[in-house]
């Protein structure tokens, strides 16, 4: 597959909500925070998300409303063995790494 980008694609099309394996970038615009949260959560998946803004209170408004297992604020694709990794919804079950990664290996009574 060639490198592509889809500009102003619709969320109902598979481009934006599906898992594209290949060099594909989908871009959508937004006007309000509510709109962007709705667009970001309008998918059966929820592995990770990223937010860029210079306003601290806005960052945490966004990060608490995005339904994803990992949320990067003003950064992206950071990983660490002490940081739990794993998805919401159809992106997976359980966590790897950190304290929460250990819960699958212990039986606490």
């Amino acid at each position: 597959m060639q490198a592509n980008y889809f500009y102003q694609c619709s969320t109902i099309k598979q481009d934006c909500t599906g898992r594209n394996f290949g060099p594909v970038l989908t871009i959508q615009t937004f006007r309000t925070e509510d709109e962007v949260i709705e667009k970001a959560n309008n998918t059966p998946f929820g592995l990770s998300a990223g937010v860029w803004t210079d306003k601290g209170s806005k960052i945490f408004n966004m990060t608490t409303k995005l339904r994803a297992g990992v949320v990067w604020a003003n950064t992206y694709n950071k990983f660490d063995p002490t940081s739990p990794f794993g998805g919401y919804k159809e992106s997976g079950y359980g966590r790897e790494g950190g304290l929460h990664g250990l819960t699958a290996y212990v039986n606490i009574v």
């Binding site: 059966p44 960052i59 990060t63 339904r67 994803a68 297992g69 990992v70 949320v71 990067w72 604020a73 003003n74 950064t75 950071k78 660490d80 002490t82 940081s83 739990p84 990794f85 794993g86 919401y88 919804k89 159809e90 992106s91 997976g92 079950y93 966590r95 950190g98 304290l99 929460h100 606490i108």
Partner: protein, 316 residues
């Protein structure tokens, strides 16, 4: 003959302690319906089954819910999820406490229904008391489990990194079949304490308390749609509980191997969280812990960069 009837009526009047009631008065029996979206509709299918006690005596006609009833209930639960999960954790605790208060006020009715469904008076009272106490227990945990199960993670890079709990979403549960009240309450309480909404199928053989518990929920500030209670047959509805694509977690409480397998296989369609409580003894203390809440929580990890200005160090 007339004299005998007159005597019987007299006896009835003295039992009631009232002599003003017309002898023609019929007792008003309760119509057991389902609880969906804060209302008490009948099943859309118009079907019913007869609930009986151990001896086979008829207790009531119950709604025999269909696939469509389940789908409607999931839609309602999904709409209610956003508002319920966004409530302050403390407020959810207050509402769970209120549910316990309402249950306490209707204790006699629940004891009466449990006795109809083959409990002894002593067992019935113990079960209702424990159900109230269990609601109080989870009420307390509503705003505390988050601190216990969240963490700040010591990542090697210059980031502030923390993991916090968030509710999974809509939970479809099949209540324990061998109890009427305590199993149902023990499954519902940790689900809603954590901010989820749920659709629950009551015990098929002992369904009376589930519907009455719906009335308790309805009078306790719990927003409509957070808990939806259906009655019907497990065998008919279990495939739909497991394969609905807008359900995030499925709960099963029996040890039937075929049903467990079916739930696991169909749940894989949309990666539902499958929770099986086949070894829990609901009347014991082991049936309550914050881990029951955690069965319906996701962990969200947030990364935020930390700027190192001019190599400044902590000035101890």
């Amino acid at each position: 003959m007339e004299k005998v009837i007159a005597k019987k009526i007299a006896a009835k009047f003295s039992e009631n302690g009232s002599h003003n009631v017309s002898e023609k008065r019929l007792e008003v029996l309760k119509t057991y319906k389902i609880y969906v979206g804060g209302q008490f509709p009948r099943t859309e299918s118009g079907r019913y089954y007869i609930a009986t006690n151990g001896k086979g005596d008829k207790l009531a006609n119950m709604c025999l819910c269909s696939r469509k009833d389940f789908r409607d209930a999931v839609g309602t639960a999904r709409s209610a999820f956003g508002g319920w999960s966004a409530r302050a954790a403390f407020n959810r605790g207050q509402i769970l406490y209120r549910i316990a208060e309402m249950l306490e006020g209707r204790k006699a009715q629940f004891i009466d229904e449990l006795i109809k469904q083959d409990s002894t008076a002593v067992q019935a009272e113990a079960e209702v008391n424990l159900a109230i106490d269990r609601l109080i227990y989870y009420s307390g945990w509503c705003d505390k489990f988050q601190q216990v199960f969240s963490s700040v993670n010591p990542v090697a890079s210059s980031h502030f990194n923390f993991s916090a709990t968030e509710p999974t979403g809509v939970v479809a549960a099949i209540a324990p079949q061998n109890s009427s009240l305590i199993g149902l309450v023990s499954v519902i309480a940790p689900i809603i304490a954590g901010g989820n909404s749920c659709v629950i199928l009551a015990s098929s053989s002992k369904p009376l308390c589930a519907v009455t518990f719906g009335e308790v929920l309805n009078s306790s500030d719990l927003p409509g749609g957070v808990v939806n209670i259906l009655t019907g047959k497990v065998g008919e509805l279990i495939p739909f509980f497991a394969d609905h694509m807008d359900v995030n977690a499925a709960v099963y409480c029996e040890s039937d191997a075929a049903n467990k397998q079916l739930i696991k296989e169909k749940s894989a369609l949309n990666v539902k969280r499958v929770v099986i409580y086949d070894e829990v003894k609901w009347m014991t203390d082991k049936a309550q812990s914050p881990y029951f809440i955690m069965d319906f929580q996701e962990i969200k990890t947030t990364w935020h960069p930390i700027e190192n200005i001019g190599g400044a160090k902590a000035g101890y």
